[in-house]
């Protein structure tokens, strides 16, 4: 990918609400060029979605997140992809990775209560034919996600005027 698009992605990753005009100024390009590049990346599914990183612990809503290690037997002809699809189509599944090492899939599940997550694992996930074993880890506290530290601790300590 060209450097121009990479720089746009870097800026959008930091703040997706920046206008094409602002990005154009900062990269020394025209607004039209930036808009065209963004449209192209949206079309090519390089940019999938513009979301918000929320610190849910500050929101008065119960939320439980768990990471589940899943061991599976791959399917002949389709490898891991078929079973992965069966799992990621559940809306409760927030993230799904194919892993190297001691297990095959890492599934992130979000539910309202511990019981809800547990029942999803026992009734939906473990019952799938190719699933051999699962191991559930509940997340107790999020410190950092997608490069964002949840507790802001690096304020601006600079003096207001310096030579």
């Amino acid at each position: 990918m060209n450097e121009f698009k990479l720089k746009i992605l870097d800026l959008l990753k930091e703040d997706a609400r920046q206008s094409a005009q602002l990005i154009a100024t900062m990269l020394g390009a025209t607004e039209a060029e930036v808009k065209a590049a963004i449209a192209e990346m949206e079309n090519d599914h390089i940019i999938l979605k513009y979301g918000t990183i929320v610190n849910w612990s500050k929101v008065d809503e119960e939320k439980v997140t768990a990471l589940i290690e899943v061991q599976i037997t791959p399917e002949r002809g389709r490898g891991f992809d078929a079973i992965a699809e069966r799992i990621y189509l559940f809306p409760e599944v927030k993230t799904l990775y194919l892993m190297s090492g001691g297990y095959d899939l890492l599934v992130e599940i979000e539910g309202r209560t511990l019981r809800e997550v547990a029942s999803f694992v026992s009734s939906k996930l473990s019952t799938l034919e190719s699933v051999l074993a699962t191991k559930t880890h509940f997340i107790l506290k999020k410190y950092k996600q997608d490069g964002v530290i949840f507790e802001e601790h690096e304020g601006d300590h600079r003096m207001l005027i310096s030579p």
């Binding site: 602002l22 100024t25 900062m26 207001l160 005027i161 310096s162």
Partner: protein, 405 residues
């Protein structure tokens, strides 16, 4: 014996002022200090400061962590006077790769307490009373006072917006006298953001040769060059032995508070400066040296990322100032824009004071940086995009308001 005692009793007691060296008393207090007090005394939390002369990045964590680990390991001793050899070797290597400079780490490089110590050591090692020190202005506020303390005579050379605040051979030539001994260059420039290309420096080098001058080249902002790579004055033909390169980690690696600098030059000059250094500070702090070594070993990517970010914000402020009608030459270095406020009819001090009180934006009035600074303000763009956007908007409103007066 008797006679002497009588004289002693007749002498009036000295006041503290009488004890002070006349050389120190004659130095005017820093103009920036006055403005600092004004800004600091304002309790207004809403002030946006474009007056900060340092990066808005915190030192990258791996650099801080290297220092923490070294403390845990009990590395709390002196180092050799010139600094850890491993660090000097890393500096030599870095200067060679980045700027085509060749220095022997064993006798041509000394690690100092910030770049500032290098300037101080150089002037103390070189200046005899009456020597003239040529200083292109507007420039960083320290050169002229230190030159005065050493008994030298600072000679400001005005540079102009029409030349993008570059030093021209013509004005340098006009300032040279038989007593001229040293030229201090600071490019990329604080406060103007001006840079000098190889072609710009060539005629300067010729004059330096012709008039047998020595150059102290403060290249602390070297990495913060946009568009074209920084050219070290020491790389010009015949200039290596005539140039002391002073630099450091503060700006490029976001390490201002660590006070880690270095200087490189002719072995005999370095040896003389090292003498002063060993008697005054012994060595730069070891924990800072270890952090600096880590920055050179694996911090170059951080540096590039920060430089790219400054460059983006540089474009933002230059365009922003133009949009609100402030004439601003394009700065190709450092992290300062230096727009003209002459169209407002105010002095830079009046403008900066009223801007602070009426629009809550702090900038540094240009006159504190010496000749040619009046009529301009220094705006640092080392602050967040949202703060910059807001600050430009406020300055714009303020200028509109001035027009209606």
């Amino acid at each position: 014996m008797m006679e002497r005692e009588e004289v002693m009793t007749e002498t009036k007691k000295r006041s503290m002022q009488d004890y002070l060296s006349p050389l120190v008393k004659q130095i005017p207090p820093s103009g920036i200090r006055k403005f600092f007090d004004l800004v600091s005394n304002s309790k207004d939390k809403d002030i946006i400061s474009l007056g900060v002369g340092e990066p808005d990045f915190v030192t990258p964590w791996h650099v801080r962590e290297a220092c923490v680990y070294s403390l845990e390991q009990g590395k709390t001793t002196y180092t050799s006077n010139a600094g850890l050899l491993e660090l000097r070797e890393a500096i030599a290597n870095y200067l060679n790769q980045g700027f085509q400079l060749q220095y022997d780490p064993t006798n041509q490089i000394v690690v100092t307490v910030g770049g500032s110590e290098g300037i101080d050591l150089a002037l103390r090692a070189l200046v005899e009373p009456g020597d003239e020190i040529l200083i292109p202005e507007p420039t960083y506020v320290s050169y002229s006072p230190i030159a005065s303390i050493t008994g030298g005579k600072p000679v400001g050379i005005e540079t102009f917006a029409k030349d993008q605040f570059k030093l021209t051979a013509q004005s340098l030539k006009a300032a040279i006298t038989p007593r001229s001994k040293i030229l201090i260059l600071c490019f990329p420039s604080n406060p103007t953001g001006a840079t000098m290309s190889y072609e710009d420096l060539l005629p300067i080098a010729q004059l330096v040769e012709e008039h047998d001058l020595l150059v102290i080249s403060d290249e602390i902002y070297a990495e913060l060059s946009y568009g074209q790579k920084h050219v070290s004055f020491a790389t010009l033909p015949g200039m290596k032995d005539r140039t002391l390169v002073v630099s450091g980690f503060s700006k490029a690696f976001a390490m201002t508070g660590w006070r880690m600098g270095y200087m490189c030059g002719h072995p005999e000059l370095i040896a003389a400066m090292l003498k002063i250094h060993q008697y005054t500070v012994m060595c730069a702090p070891v924990m800072g040296q270890i952090a600096a070594l880590e920055a050179l070993k694996s911090g170059l990517a951080d540096k590039d990322r920060m430089v790219e970010s400054y460059n983006q914000r540089r474009r933002l402020v230059v365009e922003g100032f133009c949009n609100i009608g402030l004439s601003c030459h394009e700065p190709y270095g450092a992290f300062y824009a230096f727009p003209s406020i002459q169209s407002t009819g105010l002095t830079s001090e009046q403008f900066a004071e009223r801007l602070l009180l009426e629009a809550k934006v702090a900038v540094v009035p240009g006159h504190v940086f010496g000749k040619g600074g009046e009529g301009f303000i220094r705006c640092s763009y080392a602050t967040s995009v949202s703060q910059l956007t807001e600050a430009i908007e406020r300055i714009g409103y303020f200028i509109q308001k001035l027009k209606k007066e």
